[in-house]
Amino acid sequence: MYPKIILELKKKITESNVIMSFIGPFSQGIIEEIGRALREYMKNDKNLNTPSNNVFSVFIEQSQNIKNYERILTAEEKNHVFLESILLIGKSDHKYFISSGNIIKKEDMQSLKEYINKINSLSKDEIKLLYKKRLKETFKSKTGGAGLGFLEMAKRASEKFEYDFIKLDEKYYYFILIIKV
């Protein structure tokens, strides 16, 4: 690491319209603090053209999804070199974007991909209906589930989800998700 790279990184981040960035394992405390900073930023945004709770909600669901997924990994998987999650919040073309990257096991990739494709194929009204249906079906199970979180994000999003799975090695992929609000 050389000192100049700090400025180069900062430039790169700013040029990508990123307002806030975080790399590392998520904790509830970190999520709360980034959320507080995000709300503060939106309060001062004179060109905010969506309810701030829409942006906040996508941020919370996306980061808590990552946190919940980290929780199901074994200790060995957690020590994996690629564990670091990344979260970038920014604004471009009058829209906020919340972008994340996190490690995912190969065996979990297919079902996630199918689920996102399904959500992307639905209209806003269909998403709202499915959300209500899921909420009623699952609330008695008492456990949190990522399923409802993705639907909530889709309700708030102004565009379809952009995503990618980048192969890290035989067992792990890096899951990238970009949501615009």
Partner: protein, 126 residues
């Protein structure tokens, strides 16, 4: 029956259940890491409270919620389920749901909830 009071935190609402006045209130935002850990004692308190409540006592349940994450939404739905069941068992309950006109979120979540309920549900503008 003892009062249930839980101080609000950044990610959890204030819980103020007064069994003498029969006014139960949930106020604030809810997005804890594990909603069930937070809400489980609340479910238990409520079930116990309604088991011991006389049918002629009037209960007001106040919700003043500005934001819920999806797992808290499930927990609030579970609370409404407990209230609905008590109502069907002839308990005299009304729900007052406070909302802020500037915050579509609080109105929308109430709309999602109330359509399946028989219990009197008042939407009150703050």
């Amino acid at each position: 029956m003892k009062k249930l009071y839980i101080e609000p935190t950044k990610a959890t609402p204030e819980i103020d259940f007064d069994p003498e006045k029969n006014i139960l209130s949930i106020k604030g935002e809810s997005y804890p890491e594990n909603s069930f850990d937070f809400y489980n004692p609340i479910f238990e308190w409520l079930e116990n409270y309604f088991d011991n409540l006389a049918n002629n006592e009037k209960v007001i349940f106040k919700f003043d919620i500005s934001y819920l994450n999806t797992s808290s939404t499930k927990s609030i739905m579970f609370i409404l389920d407990i209230l609905e069941e008590a109502y069907e068992n002839n308990k005299n309950i009304i729900i007052n749901w406070y909302y802020d006109e500037d915050n579509e979120f609080s109105y929308e979540i109430a709309e999602n909830f109330m359509e399946d309920l028989n219990i009197p549900f008042n939407m009150i503008k703050k």
